[in-house]
Amino acid sequence: MPASANDWPDLLQEYSEFCRVKGIFKREGSFDLSEIGFCLPAFLLCTKVFLADNANAKIVPPKDKSVSTYFDFIMKHPGIGSAIKDTYVPPAELPHDPSQSEAVLEKLRKVHNDGEEYGGQTAFNYLMSEIVDNIYQHSKFCHAFLMAQKYPSKRFVEIAFIDDGITIPGSFEKAGKTMQHINALKAAMQGKSTKDQTRGYGLSTSLKLVTKGLNGQFLLVSGKAALYYKPSEQTLYTLDLSYELKGTLVGLRIPYPCPKLEDIYEYTE
């Protein structure tokens, strides 16, 4: 049953805005950002990966000068660890060689004060670690990015992860378990692993930690399916070609500031 765009959760609307701009590119050959307003991490990372895979795309910048400046900074910045302008925090690109990634994560942690305002360092690092490890274990990415940005006046922090890899359904298919894309997301969230039975806890425990522990929101988009989860609302989405993601996006929104979660283990067992 189709859903009205006005009913979509904010995180999903962010993703749908990216799909709208991508659709224009497919029809008209230019990545038209002229009508884009405020840019948030999920939208920015989808765009960053898309432009990494379409390096010659003609870009029409946002009309709003401050949005255009911010967009330019995010797209062109060499990455976390370099000089940061004001409160702009650039995305971190994950190196292909996982042996170099702990150093990248360490820089991101330092910039965000080890997540002290995002539920505490144990919660923050759990989320960063488990989602990034999934990218390395399953995705076979060409490009992968993560980004966190706090919005004090809006009272939330958004953390996003994206890769352009084989998707969660693709990972199951590779393991010999072909299924509908929404069933693949369901399976992943219920702890089914493509590797062995003692694994498969990272994504599902991360969802539990974000939504129950930190009272946040969780969006997962992979292939032709998406999942939106918050304590009062859970929805699976089947996506047509215009919304399909050739990769995996995880978007988290956590209230800001978020007090330290003293015991994350209630959500990670």
Binding site: N125, S129, Q137, K186, S204, L207, A226, T235, T238, Y265
Partner: protein, 111 residues
């Protein structure tokens, strides 16, 4: 510090990190451990604040297969708890409630 009969690996300077996130990191550690002829290895978690579930799980998998005597030291309470949880996890599925979740179709016609 190491003696003739044992080697100590301090993880924080070894990985230049205060949090250990990835399965690959545990693999790198045990690949290093396997290089030593010494049988007794001490893994020093001083200045490591957290380890991920994935790291802890891979660590335990590799430790089980290793022929070395491996001891962990200087773990803080968070790290001890993570290893405890991973070591005691039975093969079960997570209780993410998806049974009554609604399914909605998103298509271009709705934009």
């Amino acid at each position: 510090m190491s003696t003739q009969n044992e080697i100590t690996i301090k993880l924080a300077p070894f990985f230049s990190a205060s949090h250990l996130a990835l399965r690959n990191t545990a693999d790198m550690l045990f690949d290093e451990i396997d290089r030593f002829e010494t049988k007794n290895i001490i893994i020093d978690f001083s200045d490591i604040h957290t380890v991920s579930r994935s790291f802890a799980h891979q660590y335990l998998l590799r430790e089980k297969k290793s022929r070395k005597n491996i001891t962990k030291t200087n773990m803080n309470e968070d790290i001890k708890e993570m290893f405890k949880i991973v070591a005691s996890t039975k093969i079960r599925k997570i209780d993410t409630d998806m049974t009554n979740i609604k399914v909605v179709s998103l298509s271009k016609s709705v934009c």
